[in-house]
Structure formats: C-alpha cells, structure tokens
Amino acid sequence: MASPIRSIKEFLTGIIYMAIGSGAVLIAVLGDYKIGNAVKMGPAYFPLVLSFILIFIGLISLVRSFIKPGTPVGAIAINGLVLVIIPTVLFGLLVRKLGLVIMLPLLVIISSYASRQFRWGPALALAVGMTIFCTLVFIKGLGVPLPILGSWFGG
C-alpha cells in the first residue's frame, strides 16, 4: 500500500466540506445573490463568509490527511443503510397511493430484515401491532391526513 493518504476520514471530510462550501459559493454567484456591504448585508454576505470558512476548514483537513495517520472508517452497516433508507423513501412515495395499512407493515418488515436475528413470526406480529396502534393514535386520534387505504384502492 503506497497510498499517500494517511487518514481516510480526514480526507473524505475535507472533500465533503470543500464540496459543500464551493457548491454554496457557486449557487450564490450563479443565482446572482446580492452581497451588499458590512453595514447593509445582502442575502449573500453571511452565506459567503460561512462558505469560505468551510472551504478553508476542508482544506486544512485535506492537508492533514496526508500528514497525520488516522483510524480506518470501520464496518459500514450496508444492510442497515439500504433497509432503513429505501423503505422510508418508499413510504413517502407510496403512502397516499397504497395507504397506511399497506405501507406501514412494509416499512416494519423491510426494516426488520436488516437485523441479523430476523424471524418472520415476530416481524409480522410487530407489523400488525404497529399498524393498528398508529392507525388508532395518528389517524383516528390526532387526525393526521394519511389515508388508511390509498387512492389506488379507492381510499
């Protein structure tokens, strides 16, 4: 291994900070946000100051990543990432169309699958329990405007 990067965490953090900072500068410039002056600050003044600080911090981090050895990133919960984020997004996309009684059990079962001790029995029981509980509390009790049965089922 002859990679000059000695701390991958510093390196990635530096890149992220610099990317977000430059992105904000770019948006402010392209969007023609007014800078103004110190007395009458325009909408771009404070964000630009922050962006430059962020780019600067990112730069330091980047330089440090070649100098100071760091710890590796470690195990990443790919299972957890995929099986938590995807069903959440699906929930947002489809809840009005399918309704709570379909989306909520899906959310529970898909996310439960991320656990290494997943078993169908308890997961199904939890799905049923949560659906009944959330329907009663949120929809009946608090009046959250989510359909119990979605538009695809004429709900």
């Binding site: 964000p47 195990a75 919960a77 959310l107």
Partner: protein
Amino acid sequence: MELIANLGLGLGVAATPINLLYCLAGVFLGTLIGVLPGLGPTATISMLLPITFVLPPVSALIMLAGIYYGSQYGGSTTSILVNLPGEAASVVTTIDGYQMARQGRAGVALTAAAMGSFFAGTVATLLLALFAPPLAEVALKFGPADYFSLMVLGLVASVVLAHGSLLHAIGMVVLGLLLGLIGSDVTSGGQRFTFGLPQLADGIGFVVVAMGMFGLSEIIRNLEPGDDRAGLVTWKINRLMPTKEDWKRMVKPILRGTILGSALGILPGSGSILGSFAAYSLEKKVSKYSKEFGHGAIEGVAAPEAANNAGAQTSFIPMLTLGIPSNPVMALMAGAMIIQGIQPGPAVITEQPALFWGIIVSMWIGNLFLVILNLPLIGIWVRIIMVPYRYLYPAILCFCAIGVFSLNNSEFDIFLMALFGLLGYLFIKLDCEPAPMLLAFILGPLMEEYLRRAMLMSRGNPMVFLQRPISVTLLVIALLAILLVFVPAFSKTREEAFVDEG
C-alpha cells in the same frame, strides 16, 4: 415574598389534574427512553412534537420537559443493571453502578441514583425559580451584538464538548449554520439555496433534521455488524434500602454533584452531560474512598446522577430567559413554544407568568413522580430493558415517518429526513458529531439576523462586539473554552467522555 407567590401561582397551574397527568406521561416516557439504549430525548421529543400541537401550551411544555429530565433518571437504571448507558449523561454511572450490581448491591445503587437525582432536581428547581427572573431582566439589556456573541459562545461550547476532532466539530457548526440559511432571506425576501423547490421556501424544519440525524442514522449505526446487544444479563435487585454507612457516604457527593451540575447546566451548549463527568472526576479526587472508585463506590453513582439531573433542569435557564436554546433538546422546546404562539425570551416571565411558573413547579412534581416510578416500580423497567432492539427500531422508524409527515402534511419532509439520515450516518462514520451541527442549524438564521442588526447599528464597525461589556465578556468566555481543549487533563476526559448524545 414574591417568590412564594410565584411558586404558588405555578402550583395552581401544575397541580391541576390534567397537567399532573401530562407531567406523569412526560416523566414516564422520559424514563422509558432513558431505559432503552439507542433512543434518546432528541429523537423522542422530535417524534412527539406533532402530538403536542393539539395540547394547551402549558401541558405540552410540561410533558416535553418531563421527557428530558425523566430520561436522565431512566438512563441510570440501564447503566447500573446492564452496564449500558441508557443516555449519554449516564456513561460514568456504568463504571461504579454496574460494579455495585455485581456485588449484589444493585438496589442500593438505584436508590443512591434516585435520591441524588431527586435532591438535585429539587435544588435545581429552586435555582431556576430564583435566578431566571433576574436573568431575564439582564436579558432585556441585551443588544444585537450581545445576542450574537452569546450564540458564538453556545456554538463554541458545543464544539468543545463534541467528541473527536475539534476541526471537524467546527466544520460541522459552519455547515449547520449554512444549512440553516436555506429558504427565504428575512431582509430581502429573496430565496436562497432552495434549488427552485417551493417546499424549501420556508427553509428546512429542524425537526426533520433532528429525526434524520438522531433517529434514522442512530438506527443505522446500531445495525452495524458486531454491535450486538444480545446476551444482556440483568442483576437481581435484592434490597433497595442503603445502610446507614451508605447514606453517610452519599450526602456530600450528592451536594457537590448538584452544585457542579447546576452550574455547568446553565452554560450554553452543555446540558447534562458535562456535569456528570465533572462530578465523577471531582469525587474521585476528593473522596477518601477514591481507591474504591471503579470497584463499586457509591459516591461514583450518587454524584454524577445528581449532577446530570441538576444540569438537565438548569439548562432550561438560557432558553426561558434569553430565548436562545443551549442544546438540541432545548431547541425543540423553543420550537414547541413558537408553534404554540409563544416567543421564547425574556418576555415570557412577565407576559406568561402562569406558563413560566407552572413549568418550574411541574419539574419538582415530576421529580417526585420519578422517585416513585423508579424505585417501587423498578420491576417494569427491568423487563423493558430486555426488549430486544430488533423490535424497537422498526417502531421508531414508523413514528419518525408518520411524525415527520404530519409536521406539514408533506411527503417532501419524509424524503428530506431520509437524506439527513444518510448524511448523519456518513458523518458519524467520519467522526463528525451531528449534535453541534443541529444546534448551529437552529441558530443560523438568528445569528445572521443579529449580525446584520449589530453591524447596521455600528455602521459596519466590527469593534462593536468588543466594545459592549456583555458581548466582550461572552466572547472571552468562548475563547477560554477553546483554550481549555488544549489543557491535557481536559482533552483526555473529553476524549473518553463524549459519545453521541442522542
């Protein structure tokens, strides 16, 4: 005596059956999430915030406050019985608490924790009642420059208290400030960084960010391979009553812990965590039983538990008197007040005396409930600790998804929450702590506003921050706090101490 009249007014509000019920519900929920590792007050209060819309303001705030200080109680139970801190502020309690449990003194440790917390809660309530009104008067003298410096101090404190690299914590703060500016610019009315999305015109709701970064990403982190919570053993609770010797050894540590916790809790950016660590270190130094520390010293349970409960309560002071939240939980409380049509700040005491004193008195009542909940009813919590995480997190996910939707009845917020969950996990993996970012996110628009006003009034002269006595004092404290990081003894505790506050 004005104080007694005020407390009487508060008692009249807090002791109505309905508010007693919400207070009980709050501390019950607080104990519950305190007991459950992996679910903290920030995520819970975000999930419950939509529910409180339908409550009267006093009841809502009484319940939310109860969740916060209640979680400090519950956290100690898990620390003592299973050697897992239920809350970040209970990390040090595991050291001696669990050892006591192994020696068959779990019950005594629980009593020490509960008694310490109750005493601290009582004192902190009184301190809040005594000091909040004069502080609110000082707050009326605050100009824009002073507010700006106060927020700088709060952010610096949150950076100093974050674990991991100082540079990255500062980066997270700047990033948070920047994200907070998304939406309409107050002064010009123009849109900034909205990518042309109408859903972003009012900015990103902080509850969305909190649920993503503290709810979702925490779940993902707990699902990491090799982080199993299987095989938990709880120790039997034989006897709750401490011996005479135990009582004698508890008194002074509880007193010291209370004082330390109360003082540190007021500091912006701190809350309850710093106090518990400081109290433990102090006891270890001054106690004549210091050799027993780490092997089941009762002082090592009583002092930090007193301190974290005291800190949880005094951390309400900056929010209630200055309107500036000092940690993410207080920001959520401030958010709850704004939703209820109350602007947090120095005017609350004079304009809403019933609300203000009602909350304060409810804290004392809540502490009383907590002693009852945590000692005679300890059996319930022992069973709840054994609920496996695999049943817990899908439920949390459901509450987050429905809760975040109900804020604006918008699916867009669900997508944003998922995005912040992803970002939050990325930052956790890179050792960048989300707590300072969330605080900065909330303070971003306020800071810009006060900076603009201060500079307008001083005609563009930045020296205004050094010319005003309040402002310069706050900035000096902030500078000292940064310098503290470079003191070796402190930086060592900092490294050991600050795991994620969830």
